[in-house]
Symmetry: C2
Subunit: 658 residues, 2 copies
């Protein structure tokens, strides 16, 4: 019955009379850390109250895990027994915070006695009570100046001096000193500190670009190299991306290798699927030789860094039948009754080019440590961001352990969860440590569903542990609305992804409005998952400059770099979605409107709440449309907009006081 | 950092791959017990899921605290990773429950293999896999019959016998056996069991009647006796009450005794306020001599029991200056700088007839034990229900300790919290152990505020720990709407109190529609708090038979004996409130409509959801109005009602299939 508190009346001080409840942020009662980012102001709120009418003094305490000393800051009463405290967060890593509260006997005395004095009552005895309280504090503080000075004033005093003494005792510095040196014998605190994880800012704010390295070259039917990728860096950096994410770069299996368009037999020259990892050249720590060497990779990492780009790798924990693990560690897989290794299946479908890993095999520790080693090998080679393939097919406990282990080496490593699965499973992976998650954004196109989904993601406590990284497309998903929506749909989806969340990404080809499907499926025809491709990055119809413009706007506007500051507003048209983002100090205010219909001009009355941006209801505003660089003068939140997808499907409007 | 899980890869089995989250009921993550009642079916729900597509087998486990063995019952999948399990609760006391879940390897195999067989694939190897799984279970079960029998069928089998064997392996008894004997090496369970407190049914379902014993007699200006109270029992029982609650029956202080209508000087013969407890005749364990002796009291308790009434006492932990504690334990009070005991005050107001207790005085253990002793003295004398006066002016930690201590002696003791204070403080007292709480019902009269308040109390997780005991009046509160609403208001408020909650009470005089106020205040003129009174219980305008009728309806209808089954419906008129209650099996269905305006006839279209009572949308219904015994035939939830307060302000309608 560990969870039930039972009292025993031992000697010593009584239990505190103060109750602290309903502390935020907390995730599953402290089972998982809430997430924040370096440099952010952490706001902690709690219900704090006690019996009777005594005043309370409450502090927020925070420290890095492992540190001894707490950083203490006073909390303030908000209303309805709710208190709030804040602190600016330092470097990435594990933190913990708690709350301490004691009765504020001095302030209680001061308020009560002032009331009595105001009512003309004699307060001689009250002043003698004060002397007793002051003496206690003087002793604890070993003679704090303000307290000691106040005490010297107590001597003989006449009825008509009471007021002067009360004024003296009402001084703010004395109050502060008495708060600091309050009797803490029965201090109330949380049963256990609450955990907090601080990521680097890129966990919240970044633009991702996904690329198949082998398809970044110019020679048809041949693998590109890391050198070819280096040649792409200026183009990618010019579009304003921060993260360059590669599908797996490891050697690819030969057994049951897939051919073009997922055919079950590969032809000679077919390179295979990069997710069928491992062959005689090595496994997850090796590089496919046709891409280059480890040195080439490290040169690429350095070159990217020079362009302000960091490299993200794909972590797909599965093996081709030719992976070294299959022969060296068959026990890490599921062994069938005939001694064979179980290949992947979704009965009755078979995926014989892939062996799934058994994370709970008898040598599970050996396996887990090997994966840890592999991740740290890549960290060593300069990779600090990993996109994890299908994490929901591996135990969440494994991820919690792995991410914690990697964070002990480098707390700046970011893991993105590619779990397109049931909502609670996605959330549990986020709780377990993934800094970012893919979302259902890829398929959410209607105003109602976008509003509901992003309200849940950003405006509930889900935002305390999960950050949605919005991808309008991926190498696995060529969504129907992009297949049919044309260039306007690509531009609109890009604005939505890059402004609904502070972190988003595209899979290359998106900037070319590429959407040729396998007929009737949300898949790309001639997908580069199965073959080498050569792209014409300047081909007509591309939206490269549009993407670059939006990313420049994101960089210039801190409001778009925040995640949980999203707020939806009203638009009469069902095709127009309107939302806003504002910095906490309202120094940067952005209103976004998107026409979700790529085929039709839409006009609509819209309404936004000026107070959400810190404006008075009828304050005259400068509305600066940032995509087309137009300037309007607005007054109030009741406005009219028109969006023609042939021109621009979206407005991104900076609002400022005139 | 106790709250943060860190993994260490020790030898032994891997952590479970199953996650159990979001378990209900739980109060503050198990810090406090959820409350239920004896004989009730406890329903436990949880999110339970794992990586991949394996099936899960989950059990609910429950036991009395202190017992070793768990009672185990299987949980079932509901939807969206939500599971549910249930168990019937036994006798009152402390229980704990937990959940265990393991991968259901057998069912996973069965489903996958059936799909393969259905697709015409060869399943020879799958059947050999099954044999391995069965062998493991056979070993764990030491030869369970169904498992052993299934294994004997494995021998040589031909391609065309696969189907027969699969049919055999699909048998339900074998599935059950395989579930019971599943591999539990990596069982998932809660970090700690969750606590549950089971009260006797009277904690949820009872009708209370409050009385000043000294005013239950017939001689003006004189104290009535317990014998006079016995004479009242038939009248009170006839009205259908279950609990007879007395204001304090202890000796009353002389010092600064209050006179009639709260005057600061008592005249000779003024009996004083029963809450100024203690004089030379004794304190909280003594009885005011003019009421009778301990033996008289015990006779009264027995006589009440014969009428189906239980006696509830008032626990007001404060002292008059003449209380024995003041001389024997001055250290239990707050001592001022001049050595005097601090009297009660709300600056600048003084209450010099009362000394508040200091629950955190240096001898706090001595004080706490003394109060425990006093409560148990009354339990010994047959009292099992206590109405606690102003619990919010004493530390919640004290109540949590006291109630737990008393429950260790008798888990059937019920404490009602009279905390008319801020919502979070009221809730924290309920969490700490009070079975029932006074509520803001006393002042809530509008439809919107009633709907909002009782939706929160009964339809959110507040209902897991707090039960509102609804009083339309108390000896301290003569609400304005009763002062002006006349008989119709009393009848309407009685129906609301007795049907919005399963537990409610009235302060005597309510049945006489007594509402004479101290002008401009919500107080009774000539309040019996300050004087002896003699009542004419048959005086004209009384609503005694109305009260009796409603209480008979409550007794006949289990739906009205449940607390958390309240559901509000729509009515066009803002003066008409409509709500319903139904038993879990829908065997008893009650629809209530009240005209909240005591001064005007109201007609209104109303709408209720037939599905809330288990009816089809257009099912013909017998609508039996229970107050006036009328019968209507209804079809569908769209109806029309008319309520004339001169006749009846309310309908209580039993709905049944025709």
């Amino acid at each position: 019955m560990a969870s039930r508190r039972t009292f025993h009346l031992e000697s010593g001080p009584p239990p505190s009379s103060i109750i602290i409840e309903n502390v935020a942020p907390q995730v599953d009662a402290g089972r998982y850390p809430a997430k924040r980012e370096a440099g952010e102001t952490l706001v902690v709120t709690a219900d704090i109250f006690k019996d009777g009418h005594d005043k309370i003094a409450a502090d927020l305490l925070i420290r890095r895990c492992g540190a001894k000393a707490w950083t203490r800051s006073p909390m303030v009463f908000v209303d309805n027994d709710r208190w709030s405290g804040s602190t600016v967060l330092g470097e990435p890593g594990a933190y913990e915070f708690t709350i301490e509260a004691v009765p504020d006997r001095w302030r209680t005395w001061l308020i009560d006695t002032t009331k009595k004095a105001d009512a003309g009552l004699d307060i001689a005895l009250e002043l003698r009570d004060a002397e007793l309280i002051l003496r206690g504090a003087e002793e604890r503080s070993a003679g704090e100046t303000h307290i000691a000075r106040a005490l010297t004033r107590f001597g003989q005093f006449e009825r008509d001096e009471q007021h002067d003494l009360l004024v003296l005792l009402s001084s703010e510095p004395l109050g502060d000193a008495m708060r600091i040196w309050a009797d803490r014998t029965s201090v109330a605190t949380l049963n256990a500190p609450l955990p907090l994880w601080v990521d680097r800012i890129a966990a919240r704010y970044a633009a991702w670009y996904e690329l198949f390295p082998r398809s970044s070259g110019t020679k048809p039917g041949e693998s590109a190299t890391f050198q070819d990728v280096i040649a792409q860096l200026p183009r990618i950096a010019d579009m304003g991306f921060d993260v360059l994410y590669f599908t797996p770069i490891h050697p690819i299996g030969h057994t049951k290798r897939k051919g073009k368009n997922n055919s079950v037999t590969a032809l000679p020259g077919d390179p295979g699927v990069p997710y069928a990892i491992g062959n005689e050249s090595g496994g997850h720590d090796a590089i496919e030789p046709s891409l280059g060497t480890v040195q080439d990779f490290e040169r690429l990492v350095a070159a990217a860094r020079a362009y302000g780009l960091e490299i993200a790798l794909d972590l797909a924990i599965q093996a081709s039948p030719d992976h070294p693990w299959a022969s060296e560690h068959p026990e890490w897989f599921t062994i069938r009754a005939d001694g064979s290794i179980q290949f992947a299946e979704n009965p009755p479908k078979k995926y014989e080019d892939i062996y799934p890993i058994n994370f709970q095999n008898p040598d599970w520790q050996g396996l887990w440590h090997e994966i840890r080693r592999i991740v740290l090998v890549w960290v060593e080679r300069g990779v600090r961001t990993f996109r994890v393939d299908n994490p929901h097919t591996k135990p969440t406990a494994f991820w919690e352990w792995l991410i914690d282990e990697v964070h002990q080496v480098d707390p700046g490593v970011i893991f993105l969860s590619e779990a397109f699965t049931r909502p609670k499973v996605m959330k549990s992976l986020a709780k377990a440590g993934f800094a970012q998650s893919y979302t259902y954004f890829t398929w959410r196109t209607g105003k109602a569903e976008l509003t509901e989904y992003f309200t849940e993601l950003t405006q509930t406590d889900v935002a305390d542990y999960m950050r949605g990284n919005l991808f309008p497309n991926t190498h696995d998903i060529n969504p129907f609305h992009l297949q049919t929506g044309g260039r306007a749909a690509f531009k609109a989806r890009h604005v939505l992804a890059s402004t609904l969340s502070s972190v988003y990404g595209i899979y290359s080809g998106f900037e070319l409005a590429e959407a040729t499907p396998v007929t009737g499926k949300e898949e790309y025809l001639n997908s580069e998952k199965y073959e080498f491709k050569v792209w014409d990055w300047d081909r007509p119809g591309n939206i490269t400059t549009d993407i670059a413009r939006i990313n420049r706007i994101r960089r210039a506007h801190p409001a778009l770099q925040e995640y949980a500051n999203l707020r939806f507003f009203w638009a009469e048209s069902d095709d127009i979605i309107v939302y806003g983002k504002s910095t906490p100090d309202h120094s940067d205010n952005i209103l976004i409107a998107v026409n979700l219909n790529p085929h039709a001009v839409r006009e609509s009355r819209i309404w936004f709440d000026p107070a959400a941006f810190g404006f008075a209801a009828d304050q005259p505003l400068a509305a600066h449309e940032l995509i087309t660089d137009q300037m309007w003068r607005w007054q109030g939140g009741d406005q009219w907009i028109r969006l023609d997808p042939i021109l621009e499907s979206a407005h991104i409007i900076q609002l400022s006081p005139v």
